[in-house]
């Protein structure tokens, strides 16, 4: 599996059930989700640059790659604070205040740390980081907006009772993942080892 593919499945898998009411905070509009996705792209890029530089110039030369998670925790907390401050200036978006206290808000790092993953080791040039951020955002949008639309259409179909709700959402997610695996094989598999 290519690294962009890995990022896609991490972000996609992590968000598939978020909007079905398990973790998603009620009352969040579609506009807010798009604004969040746009905000994530900025945050993901910043984190990817920071992790990439750390990994390339500090962790890898000193053979300390295994402490990456510890550095990620501190980076994550920094980004959480930055996101809290940033969202206050975006109109129409609910403030992401009280970050450390709100577990539901932890959906945000799913995108961020996947981007940071891309930055580690082999992929740290601006072009690859941009591709990584794009893949992460695409996965987030696919897991929320695309799946929401798919499930809404399927609600009109005579689906067996046992498959209604989360199972049909996961089946749809499987089909989206299958479609992405084609893109990955044809595109990312050639570009990345």
């Amino acid at each position: 599996m290519s690294v962009p593919g890995l990022m896609f499945y991490m972000v996609f898998g992590g968000n598939v059930l978020f909007s079905s009411g398990l973790f998603w905070q009620s009352g969040v509009s579609r506009t807010s989700r798009w604004l969040e996705a746009a905000l994530f792209s900025v945050i993901a890029s910043v984190v990817a640059v920071m992790m990439g530089l750390l990994y390339r110039f500090v962790l890898s030369p000193s053979g300390l790659e295994t402490i990456t998670p510890v550095l990620m925790v501190f980076l994550l907390l920094l980004v959480m604070l930055a996101a809290t401050v940033l969202t206050r200036f975006v109109p129409g978006m609910e403030p992401l205040s009280g970050y450390l206290g709100s577990v539901a808000a932890l959906r945000v790092p799913l995108v961020i740390y996947a981007a940071a993953l891309l930055a580690g080791g082999r992929f740290w040039t601006p072009a690859t980081m941009a591709i990584g951020a794009g893949v992460a955002i695409a996965a987030y949008v696919a897991a929320t907006l695309f799946l929401d639309n798919l499930v809404q259409r399927l609600e009109l179909e005579p689906i067996p009772a046992a498959f209604r709700g989360e199972p049909v959402r996961l089946l749809s997610a499987g089909l989206v993942a299958l479609a992405f695996s084609g893109v990955e094989t044809a595109f990312f598999g050639i570009l990345y080892i």
Binding site: V16, L17, M72, V73, L110, P167, G174, L178
Partner: protein, 194 residues
Amino acid sequence: MGDEPGKTQSWIWSAIGGLLPLYVLASSASMGLALGALYLLSHSSAASVSLLAPARFGRRPIILLAMSAAAIMASIGSSLVRLVSPVMFEVYGPIFFLVPFVYPVMKAACTTRTDDGSDGLIEDLIRGAGNAGGIVVFGLMRELLAIGAIAGSSASGSARFLPVAAHPAGAFMLIAAFMASFKAIASFARKNNV
């Protein structure tokens, strides 16, 4: 908890939803074992620190400590994998680094003793062990379904039952099938008062 079917079902959905990235990446028995062990280490340390740290430290420092503990355990686990199998670490290292950041581990870190006044450490540890076991079993099952063998051992030759099970798309579909089966069984039990 066992007396409340709705709450139990909601907890199962939450656990599956939060662990989906690990379920998707556990495509073989060895990956399932490695991810399950790392998850168990990270989750247990996060839950222990968040629930055992003195409340006078304050909520945010305790959460920071718990998240750091989970990350340190993941680092130690990754170092062990690197010692045992450097090739596996080179290939799957980035996946191992993500274990402390999955939803259930972060939730365990954020659930401090001051939240609800209860000390549910044992319950949290058992839940973590159950989740880790689920990841291992799912990895085993996917390998068995995909190549008809576990770690190269098969009972009667190799039989490819469902090759797509080894792919991420197959993981989603398998979980959907499990969820649907669980719902059907629960519905049947409710109707027949089992």
